[in-house]
Amino acid sequence: MSDIKKFMYVNRRAPYGTIYAWESLEVVLIGAAFEQDVSLAFIDDGVYQLTKGQDTSGIDMKNFSPTYSALGDYEVNKIYVEKESLEERGLTLDDLQHLVWEDEDDDWAEKDSIRLVSRAEMADVLAEQDILFNF
C-alpha cells in the first residue's frame, strides 16, 4: 500500500472558453481507476467550473458540470476551493454546486466534498502532494 501517491489536479481555467476544464475532468475520472489518493484544487478562474445552474443549451456546447457531482462515487471527495479566488470574482460558496460523497466507514453518511480554504491553506495543501497535474 506504500505506493499510493497523493495526486492533485490543479484547475485554474474557466469552463467553456478553453478545453482545459473538461480535459481535467476526463483525466481525473481516468485516474480514479488507479486507486491513488486524489484531490482537486480550484484556484483563480478555476472556481467558475463549479458554479451551479449551468445551462449550455444556448451556446451549442456540452454541459459537463453535472459530472462534478459524480466524483464522490469515484472516491474523489477532497475538493479544495480557494476562498480568495471566489471573493475576487464576487462569488460565495452558495454560488457553487453542493458536492457530496457517501462515507462507507460511517454508515454511508453523506458528507461535503468541498473544502473552502484560504490561499495560505491552499499553499500548504499543494506542498503536501506527491504529484501535481495542472490544467
Binding site: 474557466a14 467553456y16 472558453g17 483563480d44 445552474g53 445551462d55 449550455t56 444556448g58 475576487e88 464576487g90
Partner: protein
C-alpha cells in the same frame, strides 16, 4: 463615430477588458461574450471597469456559466444573439479585444 467593443476573455486571466475600456469614447458600447461575461458579476474585482459605460452581456453565455441575472452589476443589459446583431448594426464599427 460609435464603436462596439467586444470582449470574450475573463478579466481575471487577460487584460482584454482593461484594454477595451481604456479605448472607449462617448457613445461607445461594451459587449461581453463568452468568458468576458465574468466581468459583469456584482462585487467582483473587475466590475469597476464597467462604471459609467454602456454595457451589454450575451445571455446564452451567462446561462452556460451558471450566472444568474441577479448576480450582475446594475445597469448592464442582457441581450440575445439578435440583440448582438442589433448592436453591430447600431454602431459604426466593431472592435474585438481578443
Amino acid at each position: 463615430m460609435s464603436m462596439l467593443h467586444i470582449v470574450n476573455k475573463s478579466p481575471y486571466e487577460r487584460n482584454s477588458l482593461a484594454a477595451a475600456v481604456g479605448h472607449m469614447t462617448d457613445g461607445d458600447t461594451l459587449l461581453l461574450i463568452e468568458d468576458g461575461v465574468y466581468a459583469a458579476i456584482k462585487g467582483g474585482a473587475a466590475a469597476g471597469n464597467l462604471e459609467g459605460k454602456t454595457v451589454s452581456v450575451l445571455g446564452a453565455d451567462l446561462a452556460a456559466r451558471g450566472i444568474g441575472v441577479d448576480k450582475l452589476v446594475d445597469g448592464v443589459s442582457v441581450v440575445d444573439y439578435g440583440g448582438f446583431v442589433d448592436l453591430v448594426e447600431a454602431t459604426d464599427k466593431s472592435q474585438s479585444w481578443l
